[in-house]
Symmetry: C2
């Protein structure tokens, strides 16, 4: 077992001081070409690589980004991580990922942990519980300590920082408008509980679209789902007890479940009922029929978030707190689930 070689080893072996070795390897002109080359050759031979932890401590920057997300199994979040990773790598950053599992406590613990020196800045999306509690002290604390934070998708107005979002309200509006244009008037909505920020915004977009077309809002065909794991039953009830000719679902899970339920009840999609989902993920693409959906480009969101964070980290001056909110554009991907 060949232990990692350090400056100390090299110095001893070559009978020079550690400073000289360090300077030689950084090509300092202070050092004679002679010793410089000698040291460099030796270092190369023994495959010397500086210890990044030592550098982090010395430089007070780690070149790593902390990501805190509710779930990694959601395709959308995986997509965002991928987007972050690629930009981060390009700029020489690594990425450390923590999952909050939609829990406030885990979100707090993870943030505090990472904030103690492990990373230079955060990219995060709020857990459901955090959104429900509206307690963001852990985030403002981190920001107060001078650590930049970029929030994406599930954000809050209560915290001032850089943000990357889509216009959920507008995107939903457009999706519903699309259905209205096709001549549908009875459009059901399958959404989440209001405290999930994006669900709420998408619900508002739905309402706005109906209103602006003078279609009355009918609460009996608006389904707010609490327990996502068991959404099938709730959706089944909706289909059994109400009639409508189109459905707008605020995520792809609800959309695909609606299709399955419709099929079971002998309804054909899109002939009997049209369905539009949200988030252009793997499910929408491979469902049969494939699902018309609002595409929400996670890669792009991740890219942007990483770029914003790194820009802030690397801008020398402490920027006079000029926070930006980037809106990533969405568009409707028409597939088989709508007429």
């Amino acid at each position: 077992m060949r232990r990692k070689v350090t400056l100390k080893h090299i110095a001893k072996e070559l009978d020079v001081s550690i400073s000289t070795v360090s300077k030689s390897l950084r090509n300092s002109s202070e050092i004679s070409e002679d010793t410089r080359l000698k040291v460099q050759a030796f270092a190369k031979l023994y495959n010397y690589k500086p210890n990044l932890i030592a550098l982090s401590l010395k430089n007070k920057k780690t070149k790593t980004i902390g990501i805190i997300i509710p779930e990694i199994i959601h395709h959308f979040f995986a997509t965002v991580i991928s987007g972050i990773e690629h930009v981060a790598n390009e700029y020489g950053y690594n990425v450390i990922v923590c999952l909050s599992d939609e829990s406030f406590d885990k979100e707090v613990i993870n943030m505090e942990m990472l904030a103690n020196g492990s990373i230079d800045g955060f990219i995060m999306s709020l857990s459901k519980e955090t959104q429900l509690k509206k307690d963001f002290h852990h985030i403002s604390e981190v920001i107060n300590q001078g650590m930049p934070v970029v929030m994406f998708d599930r954000v809050t107005n209560d915290i001032l920082c850089d943000k990357v979002i889509i216009d959920d309200n507008l995107a939903a509006y457009e999706a519903v408008h699309h259905l209205i244009n096709k001549g549908f008037k009875k459009i059901a909505l399958i959404t989440t509980i209001d405290y999930v920020s994006v669900g709420k915004l998408r619900t508002e977009g739905y309402s706005k679209a109906l209103k602006s077309n003078d279609i009355p809002i009918n609460d009996s065909i608006i389904l707010k789902i609490e327990d996502i794991e068991n959404c099938t039953e709730a959706i089944e009830n909706l289909f059994k007890n109400q009639t409508f000719d189109a459905v707008f679902a605020v995520n792809e899970l609800f959309a695909v479940t609606a299709i399955k339920v419709a099929n079971h009840l002998g309804l054909k999609v899109p002939q009997d009922v049209s369905i539009i989902g949200f988030t252009d993920g793997i499910i929408s693409k491979y469902s049969s029929p494939s699902i018309t959906t609002v595409s929400q480009n996670g890669i792009k969101m991740g890219n942007k978030a990483a770029k914003m964070l790194i820009d802030r980290l690397e801008s020398e001056e402490e920027e006079e707190e000029h926070y930006k909110t980037e809106v990533i554009e969405t568009h409707l991907v028409e597939r088989e689930s709508t007429l």
Copy 2:
């Protein structure tokens, strides 16, 4: 902006030495209860948290695990990360994720980077390119330096280390056997190029099942797909030019694509052709018809891999290199795509 407080600050403020502060906070009995409590109170008030980077340097362990995987967008890999995360967290470890994008070079760069002090050990799955090149020097190097590595799913016999796999060969055998039991004799195979270890093993299982039932292997209904992105065309050709009554696909993408192709060509699944996939992911579950598949429990694999790594990290003695290979059991999930 309130900067993070350090031992030094506290020491100065309380007019004691740094050593005293450190010992007080670690509850050393060396220190009088008086000062101990005083220091602790002060630290609590100012929300002191030790700098983890400094601790890492001092202790020569970082309490973080490096994960290197080909892709995060594959549901299976996301699932494994999730499994790793949860066990890691339980034991106080963080997780740093790097993507190789199926590229040998990126895999090497990422490993070298992380090996320079950032992590205590690796959990990884080989990139396709690495499997093709059969060049594993970066891995043996890391192991030589005394850093433990656990490989999962895409592993190699050329490296001695802990491994977590499923019995791909057996699982495929059982899946195909299931089809044979249903009375099918013409069973097509949709698989990957041979250098992908798991694809190869699954192909072998397929062959074994046929042989053991005296069914001749017919190369014209074995499709080896090179370009996964554009597998539709290849699968279409298979369906157009050959006849068979069942399909075994080595991943869920191939399985769902087969279903879509069959539908387009007017074939009904499972009435006209039965289909079995591999990996029990989101696609299999939400496809219509939902897909009968070999479940490959990524969460469990991740849990196990993390446990093995942490065990090795925390076992005092340098274990006399007794490496284990854990086989996670699979089973067939019967759904709608088979009769």
